[in-house]
């Protein structure tokens, strides 16, 4: 374990640690452009130069391994001069169009300007004129003039997405980032290149010109696009979501996320959200919007009637892999304790996994649901068969993934035979349109709770925006229903529910709000 001195501090590091890594870990700030924790070392921007005693030249901190007894200084006049020189050289051809640049506010070049920039340029030659809007891919635009050629994007495509579309064309000061002939920057992670671009050269077409980044408030959360549970920050301005940015979690997504997940933010505040409760007040009538309390009362009455008249065998419950662990825990308690139905089932939407981040299950919490004993698609089909045979008098459904259980028309035909369908959902669907009671639920972006990803990691989501309309989290709706049905469930905030869950379901034994933290905690494997 080499011990070395950096800015007068003695530090012991793992063998092979670079000066930059050691400095970062100990709060010593060394500026850099091309280095990235999840990419190979490039060593070309030369911004991270530091002075190492006994070495005649400045060394780049990113590629210099710490050796026993090394003495490193990161703040000497020589170092400051070298950084100023790099900044000056990067800026001589930079368009300085910060006022119209989306990166402004989160731009390394801009930030370092405050530390190392000169107030006036000594450069009087004509600036290099390049293309400002290269349509480099379906989701990404390239501004060649802003590019500082750090090649993070090139390395990303070679090393992470493994698609290799990008390269540097030409040589010297004619260098430009470009795709290989006939190719587009069109991989499933392409917008990550915009995240890692330290300047405004690569910008996402979706986010471009929408909002200045300094207005955005970021809430740590988890992407719900698939079972991977990529950690994200939800960026909000005036209660509107503008983007998701991947948040680092080395056990889940490093610093990446897929384009599909990233662009799924639009879904949260889409036009087809269910904002208010709806119920069919008389048979044959269309469903009408009603105050939530009234709908809850009516739903509770209908469920109670069905239960009391026809017995639990005429009831059925379908859960959702999109609900939180807390929602699902309350749901299973509601189903078992209030309705008297032993098991619920769910349908998990699926798509093609890619062996990297994108998982086959296209929902965030199937693992959590299974851990709580929710049955799978076979059981969901069995429920539909019972509906088809007219054996189900009341059905409570979270979400609308049940529609995926079979051929759409057959599913709907079966469902139409059920006299009472209670649907708790976020978005309109063919199910919500035939349901007798529609109760508006919150999306993940409007509530607190946890999700369990494909590897059994329980991760926290937090409200980033106000709940839309009358929407409530499922656990809360279910709690109200239970109370109205005269069998109140132990209720409380998601933190409290999680504690109860941990106490009752062995797989969740070590899951606490504290252990979940910002990086999540894995379920206990239960034999």
């Amino acid at each position: 374990m080499p011990k070395f001195t950096i800015d007068g501090k003695e530090i012991v590091v793992e063998p092979g640690t670079t000066i930059l890594q050691a400095a970062k870990a100990h709060g010593i700030r060394i500026p850099y452009f091309c280095w990235h924790p999840k990419l190979s070392i490039d060593g070309s921007c030369r911004m991270c130069q530091v002075e190492v005693e006994k070495m005649p030249k400045l060394q780049i901190a990113c590629n210099t391994p710490v050796l026993e007894g090394m003495v490193v200084n990161t703040q000497t006049p020589k170092v400051e001069d070298a950084r100023r020189a790099v900044m000056e050289l990067l800026l001589i051809n930079h368009p300085l169009d910060c006022p119209i640049c989306d990166q402004a506010g989160e731009c390394k070049l801009q930030n370092y300007c405050f530390d190392y920039g000169m107030r006036h340029s000594r450069y009087v030659e004509p600036k290099r004129l390049l293309s400002k809007r290269v349509d480099i891919g379906p989701r990404v635009l390239l501004d060649e003039e802003r590019c500082i050629l750090c090649r993070r994007c090139v390395r990303f495509c070679r090393e992470v997405s493994k698609t290799g579309e990008l390269t540097v064309h030409n040589r010297g000061d004619h260098s430009v980032i470009a795709t290989f002939p006939g190719q587009k920057l069109d991989n499933r992670y392409s917008i990550c290149t915009c995240d890692i671009c330290p300047v405004g050269a690569l910008t996402g077409k979706d986010f471009r010109f929408k909002v200045r980044v300094w207005f955005l408030k970021e809430t740590p959360s988890v992407c719900t696009g698939c079972a991977n549970g990529c950690n994200i920050n939800v960026a909000v301005y005036k209660d509107r979501i503008y983007r998701y940015l991947p948040r680092r979690n080395d056990a889940v997504n490093d610093t990446w996320m897929c384009d599909d997940g990233r662009l799924s933010y639009g879904h949260v505040q889409a036009e087809d959200r269910i904002r208010a409760a709806r119920m069919i007040e008389a048979p044959g009538q269309p469903a009408a919007e009603v105050p939530l309390d009234m709908a809850v009362d009516a739903t509770a009455a209908a469920l109670r009637q069905a239960r009391d008249n026809d017995g639990a065998s005429a009831l059925a419950a379908v859960a959702s892999a999109r609900a939180t662990n807390e929602d699902l825990f309350v749901f299973t308690k509601f189903v078992r304790g209030v309705l008297g139905v032993e098991r619920s089932a769910m349908v998990v939407p699926a798509w093609e996994p890619d062996g990297f981040l994108i998982q086959a299950e296209k929902a965030p919490n199937a693992a959590g649901a299974r851990a709580m004993g929710v049955g799978g698609e076979d059981e969901a089909r069995a429920i539909l068969d019972r509906c088809e045979r007219g054996e189900v008098n009341a059905l409570i459904v979270l979400g609308a993934d049940l529609l995926l259980a079979g051929e759409r028309e057959k599913v709907l035909t079966a469902l139409r035979k059920v006299p009472t369908i209670v649907c708790l959902d976020t978005h309109e669907s063919e199910l919500s349109r035939i349901a007798h009671f529609v109760l508006p639920a919150c999306t993940f972006a409007e509530k607190d709770g946890t999700m369990t990803n494909v590897k059994g990691r329980v991760q926290r989501i937090r409200p980033a925006i106000r709940a839309l309309g009358d929407a409530l989290p499922e656990w809360e709706i279910l709690g109200r229903l239970a109370a109205r049905m005269g069998q109140p469930l132990p209720s409380g905030e998601p933190r409290e529910i999680l504690k109860e869950l941990a106490g009752e379901v062995p797989a969740f034994a070590r899951v606490t709000p504290e252990s979940v933290g910002t990086q999540g905690v894995t379920l206990t494997v239960v034999a």
Partner: protein, 428 residues
Amino acid sequence: MSEAYLTTHFGEKDSAKLDFYLSHRGYESARRAIGSMTPSEVVQLVKDSGLRGRGGAGFSTGLKWSFMPKPGQDDRPRYIACNADESEPGTFKDRAIMERDPHQLIEGLIIAGWAMQAKAAYIYIRGEYVHPARVLEAALREAYDGGYLGPRVMGTDFAFDVYLHRGAGAYICGEETGLMESLEGKKGQPRKKPPFPANYGLWGMPTTVNNVETFCHVVHVVDRGIDWFRGIGTEKSTGTTLFGVSGHVVRPGYFELPLGTTAREIIFEHAGGIANGRQLKGFIPGGSSTKPLPASAVDVRMDHDSLAAAGSALGTAGLIVMDDTTCMVRASKVIAHFYRDESCGQCTQCREGTAWLDKLIGRIEAGAGRMEDLDLLLDVANSIEGVTICALSDAAAWPVQGVLKHWRDEFARHVKEGKCPFPESFEV
């Protein structure tokens, strides 16, 4: 010329042919090295000879070879790369060797291969060298046919291959790690160090890169011993070298002379003095990247230490001579433009700085300079020196620093007069 040994047979009929080479002690050194010396004995011999690389940096050849991991400690295949890219302006010595005595190079490679127990050598020859490549190809064929290369070199158990690879015209592919990238089929861009080539070279295997001429010296060191070799040249710059002389001289060409010969002797005796009865204004001692020296420095001895003391470097020993009609601003512009063109563009300082130097000097030469540009020029040159992955930005900075040191007044005249004061200077 009595001390010459590399060029002894240059110009003789069929000097590039195997039969000719064999009749002049050809492959005897290689036979001796493989037959009666251990690999480490060869490395030690080369180290003791004081031989320094002839590619420009002047690093100890034996020391470089000793960096290679030894078989037994590291059983990865080891490679040798022969740098025949010869892309430094003012340099044309390796071309002469490859055209006129290619077997000398091949023999040098075999000895190096034995010394470092390498599997193969790759000769990376600049693309423009079409004729030398053809001559080398023919020589390689002869060497294979004669059993000097291949699975059993000269009947021994030593297997060694030599491949010829033609470059595609980039200066930077003469930088040793740029050369390796290019050989691997990638864009010619120098690699960051560490890792160093002796540990992670061609295809990630231990590799040593030397210049064409360097390998040739080894043949003679093995043949005639270190005492003989150290008797030529100076104490720290042993042996001869091929001084390539170009520019305003009567007889441009290459001259094999001991290191430490004065620039005056090379220019005025061997190259016949300044052409057209003009006066010497200055000279670039070792290829375009070395700092130009004024006529007053003409008595400098052309070896590593003397030139360093004079504020320049031996470089590739490609001497560029300029007479008194030469505009030093224009000369700097030509050089600056070259390095701007040839920068690979990875490192910030080189990519941006070489272009800035070129534009700045161009503006001064065009008569649009400002007095403050002189300090700015020096500042930019200083800020790109010694701070990048490879030495290309140094190569761009040094000539500017040198010219400004000795001919600053000439830059000032361009600014004051608003035009170039040398109407008769060479055309660009």
